[in-house]
Symmetry: C2
Subunit: 345 residues, 2 copies
């Protein structure tokens, strides 16, 4: 298909779709900055969209939001299924709101292909929180890849901040690569652990412990208290083995119980101390710059592949060259250069 044919087709497609309700980014932004939660939900749907015709509007909306972003605490929370993440976020989120905060909860779960219906599921998991005006809960985007989920989540953080949310909680299930991804988009990383189980049994990889800024042992109540205290000692000594981090923060290990509502005040103090430190020593702003640049580099690479896949002629060449590489008749590096020669002006 030639360039003019493509333009013609795109124009036709946009005429056909013209009658469907399109969202004006300027109007959406106006509502968003007033904290309108419906506008926020629509905005997130827009940045999650993979439809080419949505991209320009999403980009315009994001550009308007960027200057208003960056003022929240971005907190990542992980832990194996059953550790009580939802219960923790429900209690903690309500507490924050009582002190005047606005709390957004975003989920990152690349393993589930959740449909829209799951919003209800998430809201049921955090029933009290979801009923509050000052809260916003959003399930994991229905993207195909972790990369897609990550992009949508990161842009959603920007949108939530522009909508005036002051604490953004990014929740991930404790399996696979998603922790590292979430770590790359937050300021503070919290690991929830169960007492009475070795870290091997909890499926927590060693690398995850190293990323944690705090470790909370959940369900530290009733008969569990002694086991929880023993676990705290054990984790404390394990954490001492790690070298000190660049930001000069030593990870805290605390107990908590959503049932007894204990440990939440202590955790809030930990958070306050942490953000005071990383603001004062300038780590926070450097960290966010670095995160943004890492994501930019990653996005550039992805963009290159995406465009190759979108160009039918290039895609055919890509498949042919990949086949030759797979068959062992073309070196991967020579193949990559050959392909790029045909693509880049």
């Amino acid at each position: 298909m030639s360039k003019s044919e493509k333009d013609f087709r795109a124009a036709a497609v946009s005429r056909i779709r013209g009658n469907r309700k399109t969202i004006d980014p300027a109007r959406l932004f106006g509502l968003l900055r007033q904290g309108d939660r419906n506008a926020l939900a629509q905005s997130i749907t827009l940045v999650e969209s993979n439809k080419p015709e949505d991209f320009d509007r999403a980009a315009e909306l994001l550009e308007r939001c960027m200057p208003l972003s960056g003022h929240s605490r971005r907190i990542g929370i992980t832990g194996v299924p059953g550790v009580g993440k939802s219960t923790f976020i429900e209690t903690f989120g309500n507490m924050l709101i009582d002190t005047g905060e606005r709390v957004a909860v975003l989920a990152v779960d690349p393993s589930s292909r959740r449909s829209r219906g799951s919003i209800l599921g998430d809201k049921t998991r955090m029933e009290l929180l979801s009923r509050r005006q000052e809260a916003f809960i959003r399930p994991s985007p229905a993207a195909e890849t972790l990369g897609g989920v990550a992009r949508a989540t990161r842009e959603s953080i920007i949108l939530c901040e522009a909508a005036g949310f002051t604490t953004i909680i990014v929740e991930t299930v404790g399996v696979g690569q998603s922790e590292t991804t979430v770590y790359g988009m937050v300021d503070f990383f919290l690991l929830l652990m169960l007492s009475g189980a070795g870290d091997e049994l909890q499926g927590i990889k060693r690398g995850i412990m190293e990323m944690a800024d705090a470790l909370l042992i959940t369900k530290a109540d009733g008969n569990n208290i002694n086991a929880a205290k023993a676990a705290r000692r054990q984790y404390k000594s394990a954490l001492h083995l790690y070298p000190e981090t660049e930001k000069g923060w030593a990870p805290e290990v605390e107990l908590c119980s959503a049932l007894d509502r204990t440990g939440f005040d202590a955790f809030t103090d930990v958070l306050d101390a942490y953000f005071k430190l990383v603001k004062e020593n300038n780590w926070l702003s450097k960290h966010r710059q670095k995160q943004a640049l890492d994501w930019f580099d990653e996005a550039l690479k992805t963009e290159w592949l995406r465009r190759m896949h979108d160009d039918p002629e290039m895609y055919a060449r890509l498949k042919r060259i990949r086949q030759d590489v797979s068959d062992g008749i073309l070196s991967p590096f020579v193949g990559a250069r050959k392909l790029a020669d045909g693509f880049v002006s």
Copy 2:
């Protein structure tokens, strides 16, 4: 600079450099396939080169070599400094040569910016091996990045195979990311360990143990024997915790001593059994296909960035957009798309 200006400059540069000795790939290939070690060394220098004017010749040479490649055993070896990698390779390599093999040793060490002089260094480390006609020893390429070292090493494997080497040993120092890189280019991954030290003390990360197809405890001689046997029991039980691999191979743990020349025959049996298995169950060919495609995808991404950096106009735009991303006024993803819009036809 316009396209025609660029072409003119490139032609001028090539005229000026015309009097320097250029290597004809066809001639180089002719010598290489006869097993000429000087031609092999020159060929590797050619594929290691980052000069744009060397690329076409390197690509031609590699394309000629591809059909002759793939017939060797590619063995990765790692272990902390002091574990005795060179001594092991020296003894093992000589043994293989005595049974009719031809052995190439390639090093991957992204931390050292070794100069050409270090070839002597590597040859001194493996003195007996380096004197044999059937051996070829090459130090780590002087590339700036692990990615550069990896590309050069992987293409060097192709060249060594075309030159008739039947066992390619890729040696890496036991630090950082280089093990994972080497793992991605070999068929069999050997981890050398010292006895009498916990794996933590040896700086071996858990992930490395999981990659190993065999674990050899070195210096298992004299007073060390009991400690080595205890270490073997310990590692054996540790390895049992890992799930079985797709290839259906359970990693072996053996002792060896270069001093007493013990353990080498047993290791050769392990290798033979391994390659018999992975050829029969077809894992080896699938694995190599997968490796080639992974490297191709990686190379494509790198190529995209490289070309952007090479184009002065694009590079200026890249720097400007990166700055906006770093300053938090442009979303990383929007920035990437904007940049790509200007680059891809």
